[in-house]
Symmetry: C2
Subunit: 299 residues, 2 copies
């Protein structure tokens, strides 16, 4: 998807949050980052997907601070938290009447660990919701059908700690061969190849970097092996709104698994903000120009 | 209050909403306004109160469109809607055990008619809440006490249709002499002297322009008669968040009556977003730098 005008105020809010995350008490720094992002807005081509703009924002922060991975500590904390939940998640999936569906839900719940869109996520509360949440898993049967004859699955990861939850779902995909794709480098709190191996994802999946340096998947910059997998894998599962934003018009069917985090994506998918969705997309061509997204936050 | 960094993304969202309000289908215009506001951010002095920035934004829209009062139609529609409610409001106040408190609640309910902060307000739903709302009228007894010996009240208006609700409260202030102050010119959907007279506010109050051209009260630009009233009136009541934002550090006690519309003002007042409050302030000196406001909207 392109960057809609509604995305602009949201980027600016995210830039402020990111600046505060990296240097909590340095207000002059916060203002510099905000000013630099605002000054760049008139030059942003609107064809850029939102995660491309995210890369730009985090590039400013990296340059201004000289810190290559400002989220290292946050990622480590989130990861510890997620790993502590793992036994409960696995027990919940095991005792569920439909373990595959349960694992899908666990994987979506993991998507709340997103410092970009939701810095104050509450994992414990979210997990309590697992039992009673009314997820919109519209594409559950299509996914089951697609998996029936599939020998390979490309699974595109998202945030670091979220991958712990992804592993629960990946185990439900075995004995198919699963390829787990990561970002090319640290960006926001997204997962890298190195961390995926540390978590032990390579016990169940072939871990590879997609080559994408954005908090999403930039198909113009992926590696050749990833591109081949992306084109040929019978089933592609992509986690997180960043992957949706960058792959919604990729030209092939993709099972997107994420929590809808803004009104623009809510309008594009027809699902409410906050919904946990399994959504079959990837071939989007429709524009929001008519059905303009509104930003309902009060002022 | 000064403009906090958290206000910046909010301004940009408001600029987009205002541009869409004025020319709903002209996306090139929306982008031009957004670009111009973003480009100006690095030059905004942070001592400016948020309504001063609002004046700047609406100045861009006025200049770009050549339309002096882009909200004329919206104001007329809101006004018609508010006038249709008036009999119900008056009946509700009359039958209330404490008509003064009831009129305070009515006046606050009118504050939701604010296109700047809340373009999709739902008057009917809000009025239903009147019966059961738990307003935080902390300053109700102090206001009663202050009114006890007061012969004059300065009442600073806010939005156009809201003034219909204000009149219900103003009638409770009689037989004291009430001065009702308006903006100097059309800005957003705020009330002007001319409209206040058309509504018939001058039957109960002395209507005057404050001289302020911003969606709030800019004390550096008010008229001499207003300034004198402001300095000498034993009781000042100011409606709406814009008046709070511009008068919170005015240096005299003011009874602010409004619905809290953002996290920054929530942090400054200690009241939750969405609260209807009667708040005694005007002498604020504390800064938010430590207790930084967060913007909770998701991304």
């Amino acid at each position: 998807m392109k960057t809609y005008l509604d995305c602009i105020p949201c980027f600016i809010r995210q830039a402020l949050e990111a600046a505060r995350h990296v240097r909590p008490t340095d207000e002059a720094f916060h203002r510099r980052v905000l000013n630099e992002v605002c000054a760049a807005v008139p030059r942003l081509p609107e064809q850029l997907s939102p995660p491309r703009v995210g890369e730009f924002i985090h590039g400013i922060i990296r340059r201004e601070t000289g810190i290559d991975d400002p989220y290292a500590q946050a990622k480590a904390n989130n990861l510890r938290q997620a790993l502590a939940f793992l036994p409960r998640l696995e027990a919940w999936v095991r005792q569920h009447a439909d373990p595959f569906e349960a694992a899908i839900r666990v994987a979506i719940a993991g998507n709340i660990i997103d410092l970009g869109a939701n810095p104050d996520f509450q994992l414990e509360a979210e997990l309590d919701l697992l039992e009673r949440q009314t997820s919109q898993l519209d594409a559950l049967e299509p996914l089951r059908n697609a998996l029936e004859d599939a020998e390979q699955v490309l699974y595109i990861g998202d945030n670091t700690a979220e991958a712990v939850f992804d592993q629960v779902l990946i185990r439900q995909l075995l004995p198919r061969r699963v390829f787990f794709a990561t970002r090319a480098r640290p960006i926001l709190n997204d997962i890298t190849e190195e961390t995926a191996r540390q978590i032990g994802l390579d016990a169940d999946a072939t871990v590879l970097s997609s080559g994408s340096p954005i908090p999403g998947t930039d198909l113009t910059r992926v590696t050749e092996p990833f591109r081949q997998l992306f084109d040929e894998a019978p089933v592609v599962i992509a986690k997180g709104q960043g992957n949706f934003e960058s792959l919604s018009d990729a030209g092939r069917p993709i099972f997107f698994l994420f929590k809808v985090k803004c009104e623009v994506v809510a309008a594009l998918t027809g699902r409410a903000v906050g919904s946990s969705i399994l959504y079959l997309g990837g071939t989007m061509r429709k524009s929001l120009s008519a059905e303009r997204a509104s930003t309902p936050q009060e002022a």
